[in-house]
């Protein structure tokens, strides 16, 4: 008797009736899928075109696709265990594509992979390995969702997800079982049908569950705007941001339907973690709900039934949501877009916001102080006025020019520059870069501020700017581009890191915990430079959340100017984390973070650690000089 090799058993030819039955069921399943997916697809296509969309550079898109979709880099990096489980399910699906195609072909009598052929045998085994990993993976995800139940997945158990997990598991089992059934047995046909029916049930479920991400998210990742927190320019005279359905662009709609509801955005959101209304996941699902109910041609306001009007204005624009999202959703353009819609049309009413806008309409700085206060500070510090001969224009910013602590930081940084012999000057007049109004969605005011500053810089022939404020850096370098060509700009951490070898070390080496400002880390990808500066003047400690996953201080997105928060204060949560490291000193690199922690530390009764900017840490080791005091 010939020993049959161990391989997949496939049913022999089906009778005509069964073939027809299969074809009919497949057509039914396919049309059910399309009946649900078609309207979604149309809603995406009927959305407004993204005026600034360019396919180039394709290389970047391909790379993102390979890294984030094929290699599942974001899925795995942020949550290694469930991430891997997901990756195995995904890779299992990829490996299974050919098998499934052949499986269906067999049903029609035109199977092309033979278990006897060399490639067929190899491929069936190859897929079996993945099927096995996929089954384990989906089992793990099932256990996580239904037994471990992390709160990010939502309080409500999704039975759909359970059913889908079961279907996937059953698909793998019915495939693997076919390896252990003798050829020609009736069981093979039964297995084949079970596998097929599972597939045909699975397909129509996809479009109306979060499993739609299977179909959409590869496209979402490939088509995403790419750069972090890219706020698209307004297109034409009737574009005021995201006001109504007619303002939803294809990218926004595509992203709204791609959300897989994993809750990574919520897990890291400073607002959602401190009892605010805002939950980035709900914003995206709210847009999806809006599209389902009203569609992309509706003039119904986006802020209303599906999204509470207050929610977008609780965002600190820290960007963790966008940074974490594994399916390519860009939350910041959406959140800022909703703000633009409300602010540019005047429907946002907020006393603090209006005050900020009015003081920037009429004055020069976000703190609402007289410009002459800045002049006095410059005189007292004997800062030279920039006249084109100096290497750097030292940009003071609102905090550096008007806030008492910000002034101390600038004064110390100027000491560092003087010690290094770097020539610098300050502008006679400087206006707010427009960061808070840009993030709050006031395009009119932002344009005025950007243009006025760009003109002043051009008149003074400024080539290089250095500043202590990461918000200024970001706004000058990226956001001003919409209105002109900004000079080169760098953050003082980058400047000091470059000159470390020439800067003295302090004699005492104390422990310093460094807090990553969102606008330096996630927005600028600068993590190492400030750390090297900190390490130069002490022993660097890390808070539990740091680097890319650092937690916001609560000041960004204009929130520093919007008055009291609801719920717990973001700054208090973060300050506690920093204090918990036991460090003697908290090192900051942003005057806003510094001011938030100053207040947070002052309100706690414990012996608070010292709070110093990296410029102050560095300046402490400089030889004493008769520098005027900053205040």
């Amino acid at each position: 008797m010939v020993q049959t090799p161990f391989t997949l058993a496939e049913p022999a030819a089906f009778p005509l009736v069964e073939r027809f039955l299969f074809a009919a069921l497949a057509i039914a399943s396919g049309s059910l899928f399309w009946r649900r997916f078609g309207p979604i697809f149309r809603r995406i296509l009927q959305s407004k075109k993204d005026a600034d969309f360019r396919l180039a550079p394709v290389g970047r898109r391909v790379w993102d696709f390979v890294s984030e979709v094929l290699c599942q880099s974001k899925v795995i990096r942020q949550r290694p265990l469930p991430g891997l489980a997901h990756a195995f399910v995904f890779w299992g699906f990829c490996a299974f594509a050919l098998v499934t195609l052949n499986h269906c072909a067999v049903g029609l009598g035109v199977g092309f992979l033979s278990p006897e052929g060399f490639f067929g045998r190899f491929y069936f085994f190859f897929a079996a390995v993945f099927a096995f990993a996929c089954a384990i993976g989906i089992l793990g995800l099932f256990v996580r969702r239904f037994l471990v139940r992390p709160r990010w997945l939502g309080a409500k158990l999704s039975w759909e997800s359970g059913f889908i997990a079961f279907l996937i598991f059953f698909l793998m089992v019915t495939y693997l079982a076919a390896f252990f059934v003798p050829a020609g047995s009736q069981t093979i046909t039964i297995l084949w049908w079970l596998h097929t029916l599972t597939l045909l049930v699975f397909l129509p479920i996809i479009p109306h569950t979060k499993h739609l991400h299977l179909v959409l998210s590869p496209a979402t990742v490939f088509l995403s705007r790419g750069s972090f927190s890219r706020i698209p320019p307004l297109a034409g005279d009737e574009d005021f941001g995201l006001v109504a359905g007619t303002d939803l662009t294809r990218l926004v709609s595509l992203q709204a339907y791609s959300c897989v509801e994993c809750g990574r955005c919520t897990e890291h959101c400073p607002a959602a973690n401190t009892g605010k209304t805002l939950n980035p996941k709900e914003i995206i699902l709210g847009l999806r709900g809006y599209l389902n109910e009203f569609g992309p041609a509706s003039s119904e306001p986006l802020l209303g039934k599906h999204n509470p009007p207050i929610a977008p204005f609780q965002c600190t624009t820290c960007g963790s949501c966008e940074f974490q999202c594994p399916v390519g959703i860009e939350h910041l353009p959406i959140l800022v877009g909703l703000r633009r819609g409300a602010v540019n049309t005047g429907t946002w009413e907020d006393d603090h916001g209006a005050k900020l806008f009015l003081s920037l309409e009429r004055g020069s700085n976000a703190l609402g102080m007289q410009a002459s206060e800045r002049d006095k500070f410059i005189q007292k510090q004997q800062f030279p006025i920039f006249d084109g001969t100096q290497e750097y224009c030292l940009w003071l910013g609102c905090m550096g020019g008007y806030d008492p602590k910000g002034r101390e930081i600038v004064a110390d940084f100027a000491r560092v520059m003087r010690f290094l012999g770097t020539s610098f000057g300050v502008l006679r007049k400087e206006k707010c870069t427009g960061d808070p109004v840009r993030r709050l969605g006031n395009d009119l005011l932002f344009q005025q501020l950007a243009e006025s500053n760009l003109e002043a810089l051009a008149q003074n022939k400024v080539k290089k700017i250095v500043t202590i404020c990461p918000h200024c850096v970001r706004t000058i370098q990226e956001d001003w581009k919409e209105y002109g060509t900004p000079p080169e700009v760098e953050h003082h951490s980058e400047f000091m890191a470059r000159h470390l070898s020439r800067l003295p070390r302090p004699s005492q080496q104390e422990t310093i915990v460094y807090h990553d400002p969102c606008y330096l880390g996630r927005y600028r990808n600068v993590y190492e430079e400030p750390r090297s500066v900190v390490s130069h003047s002490g022993q660097l400690l890390e808070a539990e959340r740091h680097g890319e996953r650092s937690f916001c201080c609560g000041a960004g997105g204009g929130l520093a100017f919007l008055g009291e928060e609801t719920g717990e204060r973001v700054s208090h949560v973060r300050a506690k984390e920093l204090v918990a490291t036991g460090a003697k000193t908290i090192g900051t690199a942003c005057p806003f973070c510094n001011s938030m922690f100053r207040d947070a530390l002052a309100s706690s009764s414990d012996a608070a650690p010292q709070l110093l900017d990296i410029a102050q840490l560095t300046a402490r080791a400089l030889p004493q000089q008769d520098a005027p005091s900053a205040s």
Binding site: N344, T345, A354, F357, L358, E361, G363, S364, L445
Partner: protein
């Protein structure tokens, strides 16, 4: 209700003011300009009345070409149309001269209510609105914080000294000068600016208006306030020194 708001463009709050070479006016080059503060409140009051009771808000401004940007800003905030009296000799017109121009432009409009700011942030006469009311022979009231429409006319809240307020009823038509701080200002929006582009701005020159052409005043010389910093040491017992300090704060510095 048809409301005319008379507004003025003045140097921006933070603007570094310098005296011009002739010594008769400030150096206007490099200055940035803004809407006079109490005029902003007058405009806001008018817009709120319109939102509650319907009607039309017309802004009126006398000033050179550059005043156009401030007129646009008022249109952007919600005024329906504007009249720009083109004249660049405001320095040669005192409150009476300007009020004559404004009155001549307002007359054909026949409004129910005229609002102006209490006083301008540059010349600070504080009389233009009141003289305007006289010229038009209208009942008027000054230092108004809030206006409400009543069945017979309007009820206004007027600021008195030492934290006292007065509520007055006036018939319409009337003219009011508005005090700063009575309400919350709205911010300018992109949509407002875009919509303002299509709104009517009618330009008339001062010469076209039926107003006597001779100057009502001429500025001889202007000067910046002299900064003084003097230190006085108050002697005597703590009680005497305190009494002397209160005396000085009350009558010399007028801070109490």
């Amino acid at each position: 209700m048809k409301i005319v708001v008379a507004i003025k463009q003045v140097p921006e709050r933070d603007a570094p003011v310098r005296i011009g070479a002739a010594g008769r006016w400030i150096e206007e080059a490099d200055l940035q300009w803004a809407l006079n503060e109490s005029d902003a409140y007058a405009l806001e009051e008018a817009l709120q009345l319109k939102e509650q009771h319907g009607g039309e808000v017309i802004v009126l401004s006398a000033g050179p070409e550059r005043a156009g940007s401030t007129i646009r800003e008022a249109l952007a905030k919600g005024a329906d149309r504007a009249i720009h009296i083109d004249c660049d000799d405001l320095g040669n017109r005192d409150a009476l001269g300007v009020a004559r121009l404004l009155a001549a432009a307002i007359q054909p409009e026949n409004p129910d209510l005229i609002l102006t700011g209490l006083q301008s942030d540059d010349l600070g006469y504080g009389q233009t609105g009141v003289i305007l009311a006289e010229l038009l022979n209208l009942p008027h009231s000054s230092l108004i914080l809030h206006v409400e429409k009543s069945d017979t006319g309007i009820t206004v809240k007027r600021e008195l000294e030492e934290g006292w307020f007065q509520n007055i009823e006036l018939p319409l038509p009337a003219a009011l000068t508005i005090q700063s701080g009575g309400t919350k200002l709205r911010y300018a929006t992109l949509m407002g600016i875009k919509r303002a582009k299509t709104k009517e701005v009618r330009r008339v020159t001062a010469a076209e208006l039926p107003v006597p052409s001779e100057a009502t005043a001429s500025l001889e010389r202007i000067a910046l306030p002299q900064k003084q910093k003097t230190t006085q040491i108050l002697t005597g017992s703590a009680q005497e020194a305190a009494a002397a300090l209160v005396e000085k704060l009350k009558f010399e510095v007028r801070a109490l």
